[in-house]
């Protein structure tokens, strides 16, 4: 699974959020290391919803703005666990390789 989509799923695992909120959260939670381009975010969000990993609902923000809130479906949660494991394995393998290559 591409990193952006993993990040989206992880973000939404804690709580439902809207597109802008997801952008903010990724930036803040990664301490500014990662920033998402809106251009890629929304297509990804819609794709994930189309695949059934997310569901969406229109709601109201604390500031009384209308926004489309996304949340994880049960299938989405399952997929997140798989993707996380897969990523961690990849990361371990990569770091082993890098240490080896040194």
């Amino acid at each position: 699974m591409p990193p952006l989509e993993l990040l989206i799923l992880k973000t939404l695992a804690r709580a439902a959020n809207h597109g802008f909120g997801i952008t903010l959260h990724i930036q803040q939670a990664s301490s500014g290391l990662l920033s998402v381009e809106e251009g890629s975010l929304y297509p990804a969000l819609h794709r994930l919803e189309r695949e059934g990993l997310l569901s969406s609902e229109w709601g109201v923000t604390p500031n009384a703005r209308k926004a489309k809130f996304y949340k994880l479906t049960p299938a989405g949660r399952k997929r997140l666990i798989q993707a996380e494991e897969s990523w961690l394995q990849t990361a371990k393998g990569v770091s082993k390789l890098l240490r080896f290559a040194q």
Binding site: F20, G39, A67, K68
Partner: protein
Amino acid sequence: MSKHDDDWKQELESHLALRADHGATPDEARRRFGNRLQISEAVRAVHVPVYLDHLQQDLRYALRGLRHSPLFTAAALLTLALGLGASTAVFSVVDRILFRPLPYAEPDRLVWLGMAAPIETNEFLLSPDYLTWRKSQTVLTQLTATRGNTDCDLTSGDPVRYRCAQVDDNFLSTLGVRPLLGRDLQESDGAETALISHHLWLSRYAANPGLLNQTIEINRQPVRIVGVLPPGFELPTLQPFDLLQRMTIRQTSQSRAMFFLTAFGRLRPGQTASQTRDQLQPLFAEALKSVPPQFRNEVSLKVHSLRDRQTRDSRRSALLLLGAVGLMLLIACANVANLLLARAHARQREWSIRQAIGASHGRLLRQSITESLLLAGLGTAAGLVVARALLALFAHFAPNGIPRLAEATIDLRVLLAASAITIACSLLFGLAPLLLQRGQWFRSGLVVAQIAVTVVLLASAVNLLQSLITQLQIPLGLRPEGLLVAEVGLHRDRYPQREQQLQFFEALEERLAAIPGVQAVALADALPPHGRLMTTIFSTLQVEGRPANTGAPTGGMVVHRQITPHYFSILGIPVVRGRAFTEEDRRGPEDLVIISESLARRLFPQRNPIGQRMRAFEGPFRPIVGVVADVRNAGLTGKDDPEYYELRRHHPSAGRGHSQILLQSTADPAKLNAAVRHELRQLDPHLPAEIYPLTRKIDALTAQPRFQSALLSGFALAGLLLAAIGLYGVLAFLVARRAREIAVRLALGATPSQVRGLVLRQALLWTALGLGLGSAAAVALQLQQSLALTAAVLALTALLAAWWPSARAARVDPATALRWE
């Protein structure tokens, strides 16, 4: 679809608002978001695959484009509808005629075989030969025959005339047909059993299975129905029939009659019809021995595939139709191509603008293709409507001669094929020059080609019409107006003896003459110009005192009729020499003969025929008492034969089972009809009769050739219309495109009529070229006589088509046209 669009729009707005709340200005927020168009497309692409989305757009755009150019759309749709509709209808009909599936097992292995001789148009086998062949031949796997159809009337209740097909017991098995109910015919069957056709079983007996093994009264004899034939079954001779019976052809001690049979067989696997014919030669040589030696040269054995033989007469008209329609389709294709070309050229400016703001060349091309396809789709739908209408028209007006016409339905494969051809043609012509940048030449070439093809089409139609008119104008030789015909056939069983037959008809003659208003009554065994019951070979005629013709060629056919004295006067046939028959002659001792002028010319080129005596083949010589004018006796399109007339005397030898009765009367036709039926019923209540005016029968004869000519003319006119549309379209387009050039000319001093002349000259040039090409083709097809009329019609049409564009050109306002920069 747009639901997603609205939703996304809101989501986008919401995002921007939230970012603005977060601390950016609305402008910054928008800028940070990126290329809204691209992102929106990406989002939309998630929900709908890209190509589908583009397709929708293209379709909507194409539809709008078509609506905005109504003339172009109308012209293109009309062309497509006419071209596709007509070709589909005709192909469906021709397919039905030439390629329809025959209702037999492995029908392509069935053959129609027999001896061909000048005296009989259909191939035949004589019954003794057939019996021998059936027993001893090994060439075909199966051989069967039919004796033809006889009248078999239902005599219980109201008399109804049925037709019984007389066939051999292995007829159905040779054809590979099994009865729907009951059993097949057997060797032991005779006149007392029959199989019933499906349509009769349905119409009269309501498909009641209890009819099996019941008896019905046919010709006042009980006949047991032992089987029901399957639906769709037809005789290979295509004659209509109601009942199927086993034929009796074996010679017994009482009857040594020989019958003419029509024979069919099934080919051995791996053998062809011609191989079969060669292998049957030994048997044929034996059969020839019973033919008189002077005729043996003219008799040959023929073996044809059943399908070929059935379509022999209609094949020519079918192919003619196909040719005409093919030409029309060509014209239609050229028209559509030209229209597309003109349109593409006109939109080049629009295209370059769109390319400048980012549309890809491929996308534009795709749009153009979509538009063409949409047009083709609509045109095909319109063509379907036209085809349906045409088929209904065909079925309504076509004469009965065309087999199975009423069952022709639109073959969708044909429609799709024609549509595909037209699309391919149009696309090819429409796009190729765009890529070749040689639009002008192509367009001119297309118009010239259209005109050339129209010339050929028109010339063929004119040719056919001319020959038809010539045929119909040959005088009939008789006056059919106001005459009524009654056709009466006696049951052989009720009137087995000639005396009885004679008595019946003489009594009938008396009764009919007594009807108030009836001026004269005449009897004949067949009526001209269509009826010829009896024919003989010319060389069998002998004149007393001359040596007989031996070893001479047959000399063609001679028709002869048995008539009563009033025949000539009722029909208005003038007596040229000698006299007509009289009532006294009927009581006279010997048979008399009257001959036609053409027969007199052939038999007595130098001498007066009156007083000479002649006979046909054998019997006593009979005196010739008169010569009458020729009457057409081979239908309206055949070649007439010489003729002689015999008198129906008050003598048993004149007894006949069938007769046609002519009535000349001043009475109201309906009342006369009723009176005739009344008299018939008085004599025999079980006798069916057909009563109709003679003119109706004669008109029906012209139905076939008239229908064909009408059809061909229809196509020619349609082709002409299409070519005219094409010419008009291209000229109008040219005028619009070259408006600036025309304006310059006008500004420099040219008069409007000079400008008009310019356009007309262009049209004339194309027409002349097209005429030239087309005439060359027409001459190659031997249609030169029709060229004068064709050229005149075409030139006139071209002039008309060019008039409006030329007037438009003359009205160009230099001021506005030059400002159009």
